[in-house]
């Protein structure tokens, strides 16, 4: 969406993402209250007063827990997408470079990984190693591998046919050097856009896993876990379920808008379609 010459998606998405990153980093040094401190005398306080967003069933400050949850969500999102990005780009680049049966082999493995959505990989991982934040990062990371591998292979194939790659070969550059110095810089734009979108999906996946009790473990705060705990009391204290849900939706919206905005900015061909 464009408003005059301003890329509205990029602008709004950038602001939301910056605020969330700021809040997440701030939570490492400052939160209004200790996010894990229980105070049974202050249970179910409504929003306002000492506790801006109220307290939960243990008297813990919801705002402080949301701030800590922001850090956990971002870390899981960033590391999980980092795992998917690095392994996916490696597999996709090798497939595009090798072609033939090696390409087929890699792409079949990628197809097989497609059969494992984040929640399913996490369930299998949990049955192996138990629930936890690290396992959820790996599980969401595995889910991201085929997405980046397919994207990298798809866009790399056409870059390998370009004249500047032939020139690089003619001056004696090794294939590895060509991939690193020539191919990767030319496929960076779609990768950046996809990374932003995948972080949004990873935040959603982490929230879902924590909701099921497979992700971030107590007493660490997580938006998904806060929602799961709130469900028991939401009939009487609805704000318990509304605040963490809004936080997840805002974070995902921010990264999605940023992804759309970056796509408009970096890819003129997609910009033409996107602005339609």
């Amino acid at each position: 969406m464009r408003l005059g010459k301003v890329n509205l998606n990029l602008f709004l998405g950038g602001i939301i993402v910056c605020i969330i990153i700021f809040v997440a980093i701030l939570s490492l040094v400052y939160t209004p209250h200790d996010p894990n401190r229980m105070d049974l005398a202050q249970r179910f306080q409504p929003p306002g007063g000492m506790h801006l967003l109220g307290t939960d069933q243990y008297g813990r400050d919801i705002l402080s827990r949301l701030m800590e949850g922001a850090w956990n969500s971002l870390i899981v999102g960033a590391i999980a997408v980092g795992i998917g990005l690095s392994l996916g780009v490696l597999l996709g680049s090798l497939a595009a470079y090798w072609k033939g049966w090696k390409d087929e082999g890699i792409m079949r493995l990628v197809d097989a990984l497609y059969g494992f959505p984040a929640v399913l990989s996490a369930i299998l991982f949990t049955s192996m190693f138990g629930p936890g934040i690290v396992n959820s990062m790996i599980a969401i990371g595995i889910f991201n591998i085929p997405i980046f591998a397919r994207l990298t292979r798809g866009v790399s194939l056409s870059v390998w046919e370009r004249d500047f790659v032939t020139s690089a070969r003619a001056v004696g550059q090794s294939n590895l050097a060509i991939i690193w110095h020539t191919i990767l810089p030319n496929i960076l734009s779609p990768l950046i856009v996809q990374t932003t979108v995948q972080i949004a999906i990873a935040i959603l996946a982490e929230a879902a896993l924590s909701y099921l009790g497979l992700g971030t473990q107590p007493p660490q705060a997580s938006w998904g876990r806060m929602l799961s705990e709130a469900q028991t009391f939401m009939e009487i204290y609805p704000w318990l379920a509304i605040c963490p849900g809004l936080a997840i939706a805002l974070a995902v919206l921010g990264f999605n808008l940023l992804g759309d905005g970056l796509r408009d900015l970096l890819d003129p061909k997609l910009r033409k379609i996107g602005s339609k």
Partner: protein, 319 residues
Amino acid sequence: MLTFLAKRFLILIATLFLVSGIIFLVLKVIPGDPAQIILGIEASPENLQQLRQKLGLDQPLIVQYGQWLWALLRGDFGHSLTYDLPVRSLIISRLEVTIPLAIMSIFLAVFFALPLGIYAAVHRNRPGDYGVMVFSQLGLAIPAFWAGILLILLFAVKLQWFSAGGFAPWVETPWRAFKSLLLPAVSLGLIRGAVLARMTRSCLLEALGEDYIRTARSKGLSENIVIYKHALRNALIPVITLAGLQMGELLAGAIVIENVFHLPGLGRLIFLAINQRDLPVVQGVGILIAFGIVIINFLVDIVYGLVDPRIRLREKEIS
């Protein structure tokens, strides 16, 4: 055409083979002796050895995989440790929830997304279009399980039109069964609807910019015929493809939403099985969901290839 089908089918077999291999290996890595888990810590070494032999655990890994795969092909998913029932019968009993839930979700998504997407494309850059775009962004951002919680809060707690969870079997009270799946289906369908509305809008806009549409307009055809008969027909191919792919995703999405609404479907079954460390059930449901996704993707590929000859030609060029 036959080459295209044969190639796709071979790819499907290879992918299913790899998926089954991944799940088999995953469950082999799990710490602990399955014989010990079944017989308990007080079992004698002789009994443990006998059970290991009976289960084929003393065989080489590749033989165990072959036996497991053969059993799987015959529909034998193993035996549940918690329920003391064949996993297959547990799965079959849960399908009456998960399959209708997936179908209702995708139906709702398509039902709302198509008119919204068409309206947005036809009224491009007008308030209605912006409204649809905002709806689709919000739909993408709201987690399905939060949407479920909010729907419970509104329709079950406040208005009391629906129950907050649970499921009545179809054979006993079909209407109640339908009602108990409606809110979960809306929660799951919301995101899918948002994606489909965006896709419909963008594909229809692309189709409306094509030369054949200009020709149709220059022939003096009415705008409705141009849009619905010419442009929409072509624009719908990728939309239907996406809807098909989302059916696969719905199987996984059901794991979370069935837990929000306490529905006794496959998602709830696998979730409870993890907590009970009932590995045959985890393995059985896991492989069913993964196979379901791979097979749905295969069918979508085939249908896409059949309706759009460019896909087949491109494959031919690549090979």
